[in-house]
């Protein structure tokens, strides 16, 4: 009996020793620090001084008025001189020609809706700037969050897919799922040889004015390398809903070196670059789509993306 009691006591002590040795996952410390930095940053963005907000409101209003004035002058110039040779003139020339023709055929037809039908950017107002979350995938569907009028659906085009048959991309549980963050987008595949693969969505209608934001942030996990791409309408071929006639599929990019654990990355629109010298910066008023690109040289690939959101000023 005594022996049995002693054995039970020793077993109990072993349990306590095991419990004292319990250690958190090795990467938890870094994750905690990352989380704290992220929350601090969000807090700073949310609690900006009233004076700064007031100044920002005046600046936004002023910028809006100036943009309207410039747009009016440009429209006037195009109407008077249709062959004007400006960098972004191609799609506007078409628009104007069509609208002019329509106006001539029907003098009472309104010009603006016709223009908007040809170029959705003409009817797209700037985003409010107050709803930065694009998608955290926690709703488990392939649609981005319907905030601030944004609509779009995630898909996973690969070079091996026939055009227009890219599968929809549904979120799956994260390997390190927690109560607050269960799901993320995940793509995985073998060697690719042509242009690679992507995780992407188009804004619908195919133009979104993101000028109220300065970039995006997201979590991603590799290992490997991906490119974040913001595509203007001007790099998407006309057949695919854009306005590009030459040098198409040349989006503004940032290279992201991933690690084997989730990390948070920030990409500012001003940092994005197109291939080639002397290319203009991204026109955030005319976004067609956002994408994470995987180049053939970075395949096989195994990429996770989560918590995509715009960065506020």
């Amino acid at each position: 009996m005594t022996t049995s009691n002693e054995e039970d006591r020793r077993a109990f002590e072993r349990l306590l020793d095991a419990a004292r040795e319990d250690a958190p996952p090795p990467e938890l410390g870094e994750r905690v620090l990352e989380h704290l930095a992220y929350r601090k940053r969000l807090e700073r963005l949310a609690v900006s001084p009233a004076r700064q907000r007031g100044f920002r409101a005046v600046a936004v209003a002023g910028t809006g008025a100036l943009a309207l004035l410039v747009a009016g002058v440009l429209l006037l110039l195009f109407a008077r001189k249709p062959a004007a040779d400006l960098a972004i003139a191609a799609e506007h020339r078409d628009d104007l020609r069509k609208s002019t023709a329509a106006s001539a055929a029907s003098p009472i037809a309104p010009t603006q809706p016709l223009l908007a039908a040809v170029d959705p950017c003409l009817s797209a107002g700037p985003g409010s700037g107050s709803e930065p979350l694009i998608d955290d995938f926690e709703d488990g569907d392939d649609a981005i969050r319907p905030l601030s009028g944004r609509v779009g659906f995630w898909r996973w085009p690969r070079e091996i897919d026939a055009p227009g048959t890219a599968p929809a991309l549904m979120p799956v549980p994260r390997p390190d799922a927690t109560r607050a963050n269960r799901l993320a987008q995940h793509v995985k595949g073998g060697q690719l040889l042509d242009w690679g693969a992507a995780m992407e969505f188009d804004f619908r209608p195919a133009c979104y004015d993101a000028s109220q934001y300065v970039g995006v942030s997201f979590q991603a996990r590799g290992p490997g390398r991906i490119y974040f791409a913001a595509r203007e309408r001007s790099v998407i071929p006309i057949a695919e809903g854009g306005s590009c006639q030459s040098d198409c599929h040349n989006p503004h990019l940032a290279k992201i070196e991933l690690e084997s654990g989730f990390r948070t990355y920030q990409v500012r629109f001003a940092e994005l670059r197109q291939r080639g010298l002397g290319k203009p910066p991204l026109d955030t008023h005319r976004l067609h789509s956002l994408a994470f690109l995987i180049r053939p040289e970075d395949t096989p690939y195994d990429v996770w993306v989560d918590d995509l959101r715009f960065l506020q000023h």
């Binding site: 039970d8 006591r9 077993a11 109990f12 072993r14 349990l15 306590l16 095991a18 419990a19 004292r20 040795e21 319990d22 250690a23 958190p24 996952p25 938890l28 410390g29 870094e30 994750r31 905690v32 620090l33 990352e34 989380h35 704290l36 930095a37 992220y38 929350r39 601090k40 940053r41 390190d176 799922a177 927690t178 109560r179 607050a180 942030s217 490119y227 974040f228 990019l253 940032a254 290279k255 992201i256 070196e257 690690e259 990390r263 948070t264 990355y265 920030q266 990409v267 940092e271 670059r273």
Partner: protein
């Protein structure tokens, strides 16, 4: 020309943590490094599943980060322990915790497959102790975890839990007796039913 960075180099975006840690976070980093193990064990032994304990660890250190200048370094340990107990208690009372705890238990039991691995044995021992700890009331459990597992002094435990030292002693004695009985009963149970 030779010193000009390449476009490829310009396009590399550093991870957020590499550039976004605000000033003063060296001390916060040290607090996380020194006390994360303690916070983790308190959260786990007071009944949170690993995934929940990870979230809760972030919450605990977030509370510390907000009060960092008010909490002297020597009081950080007590502050973190009492915050961890409160966070764990809140989480256990939440609707979400109640709804998924059954599923998490199933996961824990699934991990009891016999593997010749010391880590798995340790985990199994931890699960057995957790099951026994679950038979205690919340105060006894907290007293036992702090005094016996974290080896805090009775005075420290009394301060953290805001109870007299005498109560700490009596609750600790009772908790130990209850636990020994519970562990004996659980060990006697056939493995297949665990």
């Amino acid at each position: 020309m030779a010193g000009k960075p390449s476009l490829e180099a310009l396009l590399v975006v550093p991870p957020l943590a590499a550039v976004r840690m605000p000033r003063g976070d060296g001390r916060l980093r040290a607090a996380v490094r020194n006390h994360l193990g303690l916070v983790w064990r308190v959260l786990r032994r007071t009944g949170l599943a690993p995934a929940d304990a990870e979230d809760a660890s972030q919450d605990v250190f977030w509370v510390l980060a907000q009060r960092f200048d008010d909490v002297p370094e020597r009081a950080q340990r007590s502050f973190l322990v009492s915050t961890a107990l409160r966070v764990a208690s809140d989480r256990k009372q939440s609707k979400w915790h109640r709804s998924v705890s059954a599923g998490l238990d199933l996961e824990a039991r699934a991990s009891e497959a016999p593997l010749p691995d010391e880590a798995v044995e340790l985990r199994r021992a931890g699960a057995l102790l957790d099951e026994a700890l679950a038979t205690l009331d919340e105060l006894e459990r907290a007293v036992f975890v702090l005094a016996e597992l974290e080896q805090m002094t009775r005075a420290e435990v009394a301060e953290v839990l805001s109870i007299p030292e005498g109560t700490v002693a009596s609750r600790l004695k009772r908790a130990r007796q209850s636990l020994e009985t519970a562990v004996r009963r659980l060990r006697a149970r056939p493995r297949s039913t665990r």
